[in-house]
């Protein structure tokens, strides 16, 4: 089971790295924000799976904080990019 979950972890990590290509290519900030949203969700997923693999319940709290901060960061992206564009 651990091996299977580890493979899942690798897949999720690779999907984060693949998303990075979109950050470099852009072209608009909106695309980069979208990629950032993917990173937030995917890292929450990784933490959930890791909590199973490492048998650490505390990682759920970490995942919760990641989820909150992902949202806050995205709002910061949108607001500051919007105002910057004026």
């Amino acid at each position: 089971m651990t091996n299977f979950l580890s493979l899942i972890l690798i897949v999720l990590l690779l999907s984060i790295f693949a998303g990075l290509i979109r950050v470099f290519r852009g072209p608009a900030p909106a695309e980069r924000m979208l990629a950032a949203q993917l990173f937030g969700t995917a890292s929450v997923a990784i933490l959930l799976v890791l909590s199973q693999v490492m048998q650490m319940q505390a990682l759920l709290d970490v995942a919760l904080v990641f989820a909150l901060l992902g949202a806050v960061t995205l709002v910061a992206f949108v607001v500051l990019a919007e105002r910057g564009a004026r």
């Binding site: 790295f17 470099f24 505390a58 904080v65």
Partner: protein, 325 residues
């Protein structure tokens, strides 16, 4: 067969190094910040793998979340203040004329040598060498809390932690001093979807922050992580202009900045009686005192981080015909 978890570790480590390079190599400043935030998230994952969930929490909340917001705000300021709208308008202004390639190469080679030396030193150091874990395990029953990291932060090495809060205080005083009377862009239009979300999310974030503070006594969490999560609420309010700092609020803000330091230092000094020295909490009240300190410090951290994000001291600005509500 190689353990897939090792492959995951290797990939994560490679990804971290690649992201570090990418963050510095990316030309577009906005993309640079996005890459940096991803770098922070991924290093927090690595720290989870090193069985350091407390640190991962702190890094995600403070090192990545707050730092990323600060960087974004600064970039935004640099782009707005020149008065040229558009994405890449001020790239030339932000960066100085390029240095000769030779200098850069020499610097890079120099750093490479240093890094190589450090790597050699690292490989030569004993793996899983001596440490504090035995001492910590012995002292835990007298610490007043069940979570070792919290015991270290708030009891064994409480003096460091006090000084860390002092660093935050120094930072906010310095920032208030440095920035002055800069006017703001008009408030963003957030829309109804956001309003609905905010009504639900902001209280939820407050609850999570408080929970982290509370759970810190026995599990990963604590004052800094809780404070940072609470600061996120402040950040959202400031970003969406749901709250605009007023000059009249300065007194309260000052009080909130110093609250953590003052309470911490006072407790540390006042427990020194009856043969005890400073920072030596009487065992019967250790947990209460630690939670009291943590509560005050959390408040201070939340307000201070939000103020660091806002930057300047709220002053009675001379409105230069601008709509600044």
């Amino acid at each position: 067969m190689i353990d897939p978890l090792v492959i995951f570790d290797l990939l994560l480590a490679l990804g971290i190094v690649a992201l570090a390079v990418a963050a510095l190599a990316t030309r577009e400043s906005f993309a640079m910040i996005v890459v940096f935030i991803v770098f922070g998230l991924v290093s927090a994952l690595a720290w989870v793998r090193l069985s350091a969930p407390d640190v991962a929490l702190a890094e995600a909340a403070i090192g990545t979340g707050v730092t990323g917001a600060l960087l974004l705000k600064t970039l935004h300021h640099l782009r707005c203040a020149t008065g040229q709208p558009g994405q890449n308008a001020t790239q030339a202004q932000i960066s100085a004329p390029p240095v000769p390639v030779g200098v850069t190469l020499a610097n890079a080679a120099f750093c490479g040598l240093i890094t190589l030396g450090l790597a050699v030193a690292f490989l030569g150091a004993p793996a899983a060498g001596p440490g504090f874990e035995g001492l910590v395990a012995q002292a835990m029953p007298q610490s007043g809390v069940e979570h070792p990291v919290t015991a270290v932060l708030l009891n064994f090495r409480a003096y460091d932690t006090l000084m860390e809060v002092v660093v935050l205080l120094a930072a906010v005083i310095a920032v208030w001093q440095i920035e002055r009377g800069l006017s703001d862009a008009p408030a963003p239009v957030m829309g109804e979807v956001w309003q609905g979300f905010a009504r639900l999310a902001l209280p939820a974030i407050v609850v999570v922050g408080t929970y982290l503070l509370w759970v810190g006594a026995e599990a990963p969490g604590g004052a800094f992580q809780g404070g940072a999560v609470l600061a996120a609420v402040g950040l959202l309010l400031l970003l969406t202009r749901a709250y605009v700092p007023q000059p009249a609020h300065r007194g309260i803000a000052r009080g909130a900045f110093v609250l953590g330091t003052a309470a911490f230092a006072l407790v540390a000094l006042l427990v020194a009686s009856g043969g005890r020295v400073a920072f030596e909490y009487p065992l019967a009240h250790a947990k209460t005192l630690i939670l009291l300190i943590e509560g005050m410090v959390t408040l201070s951290i939340a307000v201070t981080l939000a103020a660091l994000f806002h930057g300047r001291e709220p002053m009675a600005l001379k409105h230069e015909g601008k709509d600044d509500t």
